[in-house]
């Protein structure tokens, strides 16, 4: 039986130091510190739970990816984590029960980045400015990620999960791709691939594996559930692009949550397995005409659109027979999924307001036409990069009439207030109400200073506990963190 889908997004932003020395680690720290100093008391992240070397296939990698403990790392009152990862500022949204809700928190993260850029000006020299980009590649072979996370049932055999999710990951890019001028696949150039669908497809070399920085796999096996490891798995998805279009983010999360539900209930079609997923992901990305076919294991060939129609049809059957109680907003996601596929199949321009790569391709083409540019010109690459510029006065995406689904007021609220329906509520509210007592926090626990007694760690192993419904009045009516902890001890429901 499918379990409720709790979702979240981690986005690494590209960073440039305009007018100053290029030190991205330092620049990222300055950016985040400026925000934290201006908005909240600094709460450290608790690394007790971090095991990025732990593999879903059942072994632990020696010398696995390191957690960089010395870098800036903060927890925000909206339940998010804001930190320096490698050489990028990164925001992980709080855990969200709703797909639309997750889009609101991804948008809030963008606004937090914009505020950070603003705040950082006061600590930088007048002619120095930090510039942030919500994209995934520098066009020179370096990529950074936008990862999605989904709560799934530990009982699903991992092999079946990999087999079933792969065709979706290879083909969903036709509506989730953020578009890219040129190619970074070794051996190809911009004359072979003037424009492609995805930012990320060029960087995937394996079907399945633990790495995220080298030999990136289409299905990542990092096994850090950040919750009860007996009941749950957190699927860590590294194959996606960061989206500027809110609807694209919504579809990326919503369709994947629906596919995962079908996998949990074993209703996903078993005849869509791909013969060679790694070359296929690039074939799809390098073909904006959407006409090239990819090979299936059973010998058939299908376009990415045909694979997507097949998945959608199966999802419609599932919807009719059992519904999608596990995915909030599922009915709306299914309708929009159908609309976007129909638009891509008939008149591309009808989805230019929801699909990033279509919007970007359109403006790149129009710009080339106006300036009589034949083939490649560096101005087209500048346009590509600037599509993702986080400065409102420089951002191209925000000028293209992309449809929105998050209201300005709720985005503003989501910058400081946590979602109500997950444990992020408990984490965020505690930070807002008793910042001096929260010594550290991470996804599945909060460490509290309760005065003379030893520090108390409050475990939160259930992502759907610690909600406003369960602890809202308890937090509101407690006068001190000591009182809260005492009363929590008497509340097994938390």
């Amino acid at each position: 039986m499918a379990i409720p889908k709790v979702v979240g997004i981690e986005t690494e932003y590209g960073i440039l130091v305009k007018g100053g020395e290029s030190n991205p680690v330092l620049a990222s720290s300055v950016l985040i510190n400026a925000y934290v100093a201006a908005t909240s008391p600094r709460i450290g992240w608790d690394f007790d739970d971090e095991r990025p070397g732990s593999d879903a296939r059942g072994f632990t990698l020696d010398g696995g990816p390191d957690v960089e403990m010395h870098l800036v790392n903060s927890v925000l009152t909206n339940g998010a984590r804001y930190y320096v990862d490698h050489a990028h500022p990164e925001i992980s949204t709080p855990e969200c029960r709703g797909i639309r809700e997750a889009v609101v928190y991804d948008r809030a993260a963008e606004e937090i980045v914009r505020c950070s850029m603003e705040y950082s000006r006061s600590v930088l020299a007048d002619d120095v400015e930090l510039l942030l980009y919500k994209n995934n590649s520098d066009g020179k072979g370096n990529s950074y990620g936008c990862h999605e996370n989904y709560l799934i049932d530990r009982g699903v055999p991992f092999g079946r999960l990999v087999a079933d999710i792969t065709p979706h990951f290879v083909t969903r890019q036709i509506f989730t791709g953020a578009g890219k001028v040129g190619s970074e696949e070794p051996g190809t150039s911009v004359s072979d691939v003037p424009f492609q669908i995805s930012q990320r497809a060029d960087f995937f070399e394996e079907e399945v594996g633990l790495e995220t920085t080298l030999k990136r796999p289409i299905v990542n096996t990092r096994d850090e559930p950040h919750c009860d490891p007996v009941k749950y798995r957190r699927l860590h998805v590294i194959v996606g692009d960061a989206n500027m279009s809110e609807v694209a983010t919504y579809l990326k999360l919503g369709t994947t949550a629906i596919v995962l539900t079908m996998i949990e209930d074993d209703t996903f079609p078993n005849d869509l397995a791909l013969a060679n997923p790694v070359p296929a992901i690039r074939i799809v990305s390098h073909d904006p005409s959407l006409t090239r076919t990819i090979g299936l294991r059973d010998g058939r060939r299908m376009t990415a659109l045909e694979v997507q129609w097949s998945i959608l049809e199966a999802a419609r059957r599932h919807q009719k027979r059992r519904g999608f109680a596990s995915v909030e907003d599922a009915d709306d996601v299914l309708n929009r999924w159908e609309q976007v596929l129909a638009g891509l199949a008939s008149d591309r321009s009808t989805v230019a307001d929801v699909v990033d790569w279509v919007a970007k391709e359109r403006v790149v083409r129009a710009y080339a036409e106006r300036h009589s540019i034949e083939g490649y010109d560096v101005r087209l690459k500048a346009l590509d990069l600037q599509y993702h510029d986080m400065r409102p006065e420089k951002c191209i995406a925000s000028r293209l009439g992309l449809r929105t689904i998050a209201g300005a007021d709720e985005v503003r609220r989501a910058m400081t207030e946590p979602p109500h329906s997950t444990r992020a509520y408990f984490r965020g509210r505690l930070l807002a109400k008793w910042p001096e007592s929260v010594v550290a926090a991470n996804w599945d626990s909060v460490v509290l200073d309760v005065g003379r007694d030893p520090l108390r760690r409050v475990p939160m192993m259930e992502p759907l506990r610690g909600t406003r419904e369960l602890v809202g009045s308890l937090i509101d009516s407690s006068d001190s963190v000591v009182e809260l902890v005492t009363r929590l001890g008497a509340t097994p429901e938390m």
Binding site: E12, P288, L290, E306, Y367, V378, A382, Q386, R399
Partner: protein, 66 residues
């Protein structure tokens, strides 16, 4: 569903269809409105685009992440 997919025409063909006659008047008006909007947008982009595209693209270097 599959039928819908098969009816798909490549982008290049569609564009030439729209450019040639045989299009109903309201569609042309919409097309012209769209074109005017796109023209305005391109004017704006000409102003907004980094002035030295060559330097900007060259300096846009990131370390791999994740």
């Amino acid at each position: 569903m599959a039928e819908r997919v098969h009816k798909q025409t490549p982008a290049s063909e569609r564009r030439s269809d729209a450019d040639t006659e045989n299009v109903a008047v309201p569609v042309t008006e919409t097309g012209e409105k769209l074109k005017a909007e796109l023209d305005d947008l391109l004017d704006e982009i000409d102003e907004v685009l980094e002035t030295n595209a060559e330097d900007f693209v060259k300096s846009y270097i990131q370390k791999g992440g994740e």
